[in-house]
Symmetry: C2
Subunit: 480 residues, 2 copies
């Protein structure tokens, strides 16, 4: 029976334990908010990134790699951007025994590293759209409580795609493509999410508008796991990124960015987990099937041989399989692999050898089935599909059961009594009313549903703060 008691009631502790015990990260590195990636955690993350690279390739983004250090002079070219990041950058002031002439910052994100180069690279309309990305380490001096994978001072696996376009419409097309890429990725991770258009006061510093993708974590708080920004020409003007149009005149490019990070892994761990630990989607599990032999003394060798045959057959079929030959009790191994979230466990005992059967235990539902030996590969593949489907459905139910639509502030407060999930409230669109609701609810406005067709308030509904006609549905939540 799947239990999710500690998982939801004591999520923070559960999460920290799983991260440590499953070998994802070591949090004991002697710099606050910076963690060491352990082999198993890094493998999962790289499997996630494999899908990102594939999607980037499919959509014609080119991979680049920029330096991690940015001169103060470049960093300070776009006013809103500085204002947004200045308080949280790390400063390199000395090298060797000398002070630097121009101080350097560690990139908190790469706009200000990239865009003076874009100005050199982009010349004409034929260069557009221009689409690049990188996956790199970035640094933010977070003053809030840090948490591994979720709020860190070193984001080790920061994905950032940067694009430039001839006009606003083409930039808008890019945002649509980003959403499609993001959706493809979420399907591979079996994650259900919502997209919101951030309110003006919570946009990315320097953006014209910002979209955010959120999931609801086991404790009911939301986690932003992806962002897409349309910068319009804001940065292009600051960094002088001009292109020649077909008619020979020049104009600034329109730009967008798309960002993700190891928060994707945090979401995978959190959303699919249960009290026994992680449940990895087979798509990204470093080990998709683990074989645990359960030998009886006199029949040890035939069980091992049978196990090795199964291993070989699965490997040949392209399945990531591991045969656990450690000298430990089977129960200990079950516990270990359940914690690590291996999607399918195969148990092999003497009776299986006799009957030519195989026992498949699925991690998500904690159920076992016995199959015939000759069905092995087909059944395992079916099971993978089934697990993906189940994980997604469960995640989707979880998400939907945590979104509540209300009409008044009182209802909203009531809906927030357990401090969980997302509350949707009609809103007039005024910043003052939005901020007032944030204050009253002790929650953050995620924004309005996106695309905006979904954001319209129902006919006749009113802003609960000012009483005027509501224009939008606004989403509120306690956020990470």
């Amino acid at each position: 029976m799947v239990e999710r008691k500690r998982w939801s009631e004591n999520f923070s502790e559960w999460f920290n334990e799983v991260i440590e015990e499953a070998g994802i990260l070591d949090k004991r590195y002697p710099v606050k908010g910076m963690n060491v990636w352990l082999p198993y955690g890094l493998k999962i993350m790289k499997n996630i990134e494999k899908f990102i690279h594939e999607e980037m390739e499919r959509t014609g983004h080119q991979e680049v790699l920029f330096p991690a250090l940015i001169p103060e002079t470049e960093f300070k070219k776009e006013a809103e951007h500085i204002a947004g990041f200045e308080g949280e950058v790390f400063w390199i002031t000395h090298a060797g025994h000398e002070p630097l002439d121009v101080k350097l910052i560690l990139r908190p994100t790469s706009e200000t590293a990239m865009y003076s180069m874009f100005a050199l690279w982009i010349r004409s309309h034929a260069d557009l759209p221009f689409k690049v990305y990188q996956i790199v380490n970035v640094y933010r001096y977070e003053t809030k409580h840090t948490r591994p994978l979720i709020r860190v001072r070193e984001i080790s696996r920061f994905f950032e795609a940067h694009t430039a376009h001839a006009d606003f419409e083409d930039a808008e097309r890019q945002i649509k493509e980003d959403l499609e890429i993001f959706d493809n990725l979420m399907k591979r991770l079996a994650i259900a999410y919502i997209i919101s258009k951030r309110p003006e006061w919570d946009k990315f510093p320097g953006a014209f508008y910002s979209l955010g993708a959120e999931v609801v974590m086991p404790d009911g708080r939301t986690l932003q796991i992806g962002t897409m920004h349309n910068y319009k020409q804001n940065f292009a003007k600051a960094y002088n990124i001009l292109y020649e149009k077909e008619d020979g005149t020049h104009d600034y490019v329109h730009q967008t960015t798309f960002g993700m990070s190891e928060r994707l892994l945090a979401a995978v761990i959190a959303i699919h987990g249960d009290d026994r630990g992680m449940v990895l989607p087979p798509t990204i599990a470093p080990i998709q099937v683990v074989i645990v032999p359960i030998p009886k003394k006199e029949k040890q060798e035939i069980v091992y041989e049978y196990a090795r045959e199964i291993e070989e057959e699965l490997r040949t079929a392209g399945i990531r399989v591991h045969l656990d030959m450690r000298e430990k009790r089977p129960g200990w191994k079950f516990y270990d692999w359940e914690l690590k979230g291996v999607p399918v466990r195969i148990e092999v005992g003497p009776r299986d050898v006799e009957n030519s059967t195989v026992v498949l235990a699925r991690r998500d539902k904690l159920e076992k089935i016995t199959i015939k030996r000759e069905e092995l590969v087909d059944k395992v593949r079916e099971l993978f599909d089934d697990i993906m489907k189940y994980l997604y459905e469960r995640a989707n139910e979880w998400l939907n059961s945590h979104i509540k639509r209300v009409e008044t502030l009182e209802e909203a407060k009531k809906a927030f009594e357990d401090r969980r999930g997302i509350v949707e409230i009609p809103w007039c669109g005024e910043e003052s009313c939005g901020l007032k609701m944030e204050e009253e609810l002790d929650a953050k406005m995620l924004g309005i549903p996106y695309p905006e067709e979904k954001a319209k308030a129902p006919e006749g509904s009113r802003c609960p703060v000012c009483g005027r006609d509501a224009k939008f549905i606004a989403r509120f939540a306690r956020t990470y």
Copy 2:
């Protein structure tokens, strides 16, 4: 005809041009010694790294990822190491608007980041050997002239393997394994190299001994492209990395490291290149075969169709192929792909369609052959093997023709008149004599040949400085 005039006579200029024009790096990033990786360059480098990952997997090294920032307190635990690196680290002194309590350095290499964690991870002999690696960005405030890929302040693709062992013998076995890994990698890159044991005064700071792998560049200077260090227990004592032996007593581990970087790419570009640009080994070429259609006006469509069929067939065979349909003259395309080092070019004209033939042009020898259409895949694969063989042989000849054995300082000076290559001289083994020779020759001692059997001076030979019996053969060169 292959020409290597500018390549060898004006290497520095040739190298900078190729890097820029072939789309490897952009050197215009506004921080000295830090460059932007362009898509093509990054792809080649990642193909090189694919082999590194494979070798690491094969030899049981686990991939990890450590933070890039190291607290001053950790950095300052091993005295020789500090002395060696202190003058070239970047210091992070502030975050946001505040000074940091403990200053941080940007890792110049990761010993001091990793080893306090090793002390937590390694408990008993059962944990040994312990083998991890990472490929990361590291930072060194180089005061010498910087050069892309060769001498940079941000090493973007620094490979470092770190191992811990029960005793000196096992650490020595690791060094042997490193040499084998390195040799496998060099075969994939068709690079000929030598290994030298560094003199005491040029060891890695904190090492018991250091090995270096060198190639001879087109201008005759040597480039170090790999290093292996045996640390003995030096770092283990500074970082308190103890393990419990089988008999219950405790001892410090023995450690080794193995390092490489984007200098591998520098070597590939330099050593295989010619006056037309790069010549990539097919093993790592992002595009192994480029197809350039040469249509005549009236037969355009049938040529394109034929080209597409060839493309499809090669792709299906697992060959990385690109069909160049840009609206440019064939001659312009030839020039472009030669510069970029694509190993095989296929030219397709109307006569090829008629005769069912294909013209293969190999980049290394600049020769063409005409083959039958049905031999395509086999012949291309053969050609790849042939190219690898030829590139290696040429590189090996180049290397060997640049190593001169002499007996006296006068001969050595004469051999160095052209300031090219490696000179081997008998040496008594005394530091003072070694340093004297460095001074007289205006060259650096690379060390003595490794393994040490190869380092013995011939019976009766004498150190040209002090006249005593020579113990070793010492190698000198102008180095990068």
